[in-house]
């Protein structure tokens, strides 16, 4: 659905920042995910998957330990962004086979050797039966995720998209990344834009007027201040922009360096500020 010319407009109806060890956005580390998700079902879930589940749980506004009930939501899609989510498991399984043979490998790790385990586990845990995408597009995976979420909504493939980013900081991931990683996750829940229907508007593309503040270089630089969330970075930025727009009262928050030609950019705006609606 389009807003102004050259712009795509969506509603952001929920968000979360689940960033272990970061003041203001602290979340349970993977080994304590049960405090958010409840105790059952976490056996053999990798750290990145646990982080993603926690972020979605919080974005949905659920109580600790609350679980999905009822039928599968066929209109809800999942777009997950993570580059290194399962690399430690791949390394672990490979080493186990080499050292002890294939019988030493647990079949419970079978889903974890497939990198889409993060996206599919979110769908399974929360009962989301719409299209399910796993994006592993490097540091821009989160931004690609927002674009794909927008596509799924505008094409009518989904009425709601759960966009989630999660990245671990394990040894194998850190070696591959060739630099410090910060484990964390974030979630943004997106719906098609409609008048006077939601709290936060996301404009993808050149937007005016200029935002009051910016997440990214020249503004609140997530990587510089908190660390590198790599594949989850774009979703962390989007959720932080929503936080600043609404919770911190900034109203209109830009994401990424605004180019001289006006785009592309993402602007997150509190709905009341944009529409005169509260």
């Amino acid at each position: 659905m389009s807003g102004r010319a050259g712009e795509t407009r969506l509603l952001l109806t929920g968000w979360s920042l689940h960033l272990p060890g970061i003041e203001g956005f602290d979340g349970a580390p993977p080994e304590k995910a049960a405090t958010v998700l409840g105790r059952k079902g976490l056996l053999y879930k990798e750290p990145s998957t646990r982080l993603a589940l926690c972020a979605v749980h919080r974005a949905l506004g659920w109580e600790p330990g609350q679980r999905a009930t009822g039928s599968i939501e066929t209109g809800t899609a999942v777009v997950a962004c993570s580059n290194l989510g399962n690399v430690e498991t791949v390394a672990k399984v490979t080493r186990a086979v080499e050292a002890e043979g294939g019988r030493a490998v647990s079949v419970l790790d079978a889903p974890n050797v497939s990198p889409n385990v993060v996206a599919s586990t979110v769908a399974l845990w929360f009962g989301f039966g719409g299209p399910n995408l796993m994006l592993c597009s490097g540091s821009t995976a989160g931004h690609a995720g927002l674009r794909m979420a927008s596509l799924l909504l505008r094409s009518g493939r989904a009425t709601r998209v759960v966009l989630v980013g999660a990245e671990p900081d394990d040894e194998i991931a850190s070696i591959l990344h060739d630099g410090p990683l910060r484990a964390g996750s974030a979630c943004a829940i997106l719906e098609p834009w409609r008048e006077n229907a939601g709290r936060v508007v996301v404009d993808v593309g050149p937007g005016k007027p200029m935002p009051r503040c910016t997440v990214g270089p020249g503004g609140f630089d997530v990587k510089e201040r908190w660390g590198d969330f790599y594949g989850a970075h774009g979703v962390v930025e989007l959720a932080l922009a929503a936080h600043l727009a609404v919770t911190e009262g900034e109203g209109r928050v830009g994401i990424g360096p605004r180019r001289p030609d006006g785009g592309p950019s993402v602007t997150v705006t509190e709905h009341s500020d944009e529409m005169g609606f509260r």
């Binding site: 599968i72 399984v93 043979g101 294939g102 790790d109 050797v113 399974l124 592993c136 690609a144």
Partner: protein
């Protein structure tokens, strides 16, 4: 709005797209002794290997060949037109991670996806997204490509997919097999499980207003997620993907003339896929021929859906529907399905359905028409 396929290139263990189809028609089986890893430790003794050296980044190597061939065939100019590239894959280049685990030899994380491969093969393209959607990745990127074209965001989309084997996935296949599988036997009563194949496939997809030659038409791709089980497929989720495809295409099951099935030769997939076809397609008044490819090529993972699309295009062009390689006695759940067994069948289909299902219950069902 349907979209057209202006170019298609494939690599499997049998060779190019033309060679693969010719192999299917003569019942060829591309299985060979496993070239990677220790068969004893893995409990996997065979694979369907593409013609590659034991080199790193094999998936990217196969992909690069297909990118160049398909784009050249299409006539799309990636330097001057708005072209996006969507790469679907099941396992990326995770064999590089396995090398790191065993030898300490590391690689930059950005070599695990395919942006660099695309940049080298198609220097004019800057919009590359890697979608890692298990064994239905190719179907998913085809669906997204059609959406991009329908919304006018691109002039053309290069829809790509590639996969090579990883030791960790081989280990899982071996872990669930009682004894090493000799070959893939889709829908067969005596099937013993799946084997991996190496493959890549690239389609160039353009709007219906395209004035150049085209190989076929994508009417729609339906998507769903089972949200049911981490590895076992679910008939309800598969049925939703099929129904989504029919709804988007404005077609009904009785319109379908041929199904190119997913058919992995496993106890988990084959009975459920048969049940879903009987429920949705036969139950909806259809009676298509059903064929499958993996008995000849192995399971090419993320590229399987696009390999099957190429086969569908060649069925349109040749009027020949290949038999299912490795199938002699169908399983009970296939009762009522017109499986093609033994010899290829001459036909002139107007609508072909391509199934693709993946780990995590990710389903993509594509409907294709002749151009």
């Amino acid at each position: 709005m349907a979209v057209l396929i202006a170019g298609s290139a494939v690599r499997t263990c049998l060779g190019s797209g033309a060679e693969t189809f010719e192999g299917l028609l003569r019942g060829a089986c591309g299985v060979s002794p496993l070239r990677y890893g220790d068969p004893e430790k893995l409990n996997v003794a065979h694979g369907y290997h593409a013609d590659l050296a034991d080199e790193p980044f094999r998936a990217g190597r196969l992909l690069a060949e297909c990118l160049a061939e398909a784009v050249a065939q299409s006539g799309v100019d990636t330097d001057t037109q708005r072209v996006a590239v969507l790469v679907g894959t099941g396992l990326r280049e995770l064999s590089a991670v396995e090398r790191l685990a065993l030898t300490g030899e590391s690689v930059p994380a950005d070599r695990l996806d395919f942006a660099d491969v695309v940049a080298r093969a198609l220097p004019g393209v800057t919009d590359v997204t890697t979608v890692v959607n298990a064994c239905s990745a190719g179907g998913h990127v085809l669906a997204l490509a059609q959406d991009l074209l329908e919304l006018g965001e691109c002039d053309a989309v290069v829809v790509a997919a590639a996969d090579a084997m990883t030791r960790s996935m081989l280990a899982m296949i071996g872990r669930v097999a009682e004894e090493p599988t000799g070959r893939v036997r889709p829908f067969d009563r005596d099937r013993t499980g799946v084997l991996l194949g190496e493959g890549a496939a690239v389609l160039v997809v353009v709007p219906e207003t395209w004035e150049g030659p085209s190989l076929g038409k994508v009417t729609a791709t339906g998507l769903s997620c089972d949200a049911y089980h981490a590895t076992a497929p679910d008939i309800e989720g598969i049925a939703r993907a099929m129904s989504d495809a029919y709804t988007r295409a404005g077609r009904i099951p009785s319109d379908v003339d041929v199904v190119v099935a997913h058919a992995t030769g496993t106890a988990l997939n084959d009975p459920v896929e048969c049940d879903a076809l009987r429920k949705v397609v036969l139950g909806g008044g259809g009676n298509p021929l059903v064929t499958a490819v993996k008995g000849a090529t192995g399971h090419t993972s993320g590229s399987a859906a696009l390999v099957n699309v190429d086969v569908a295009l060649r069925i349109f062009a040749s009027g020949e529907v290949p038999a299912v390689t490795g199938l002699s006695e169908p399983l009970d759940e296939a009762t009522g399905l017109r499986l093609v067994i033994g010899e290829a069948v001459t036909a002139r289909p107007e609508l072909v359905q391509v199934n693709a299902f993946g780990f995590g219950g990710v389903n993509a069902v594509t409907l294709l028409e002749r151009a």
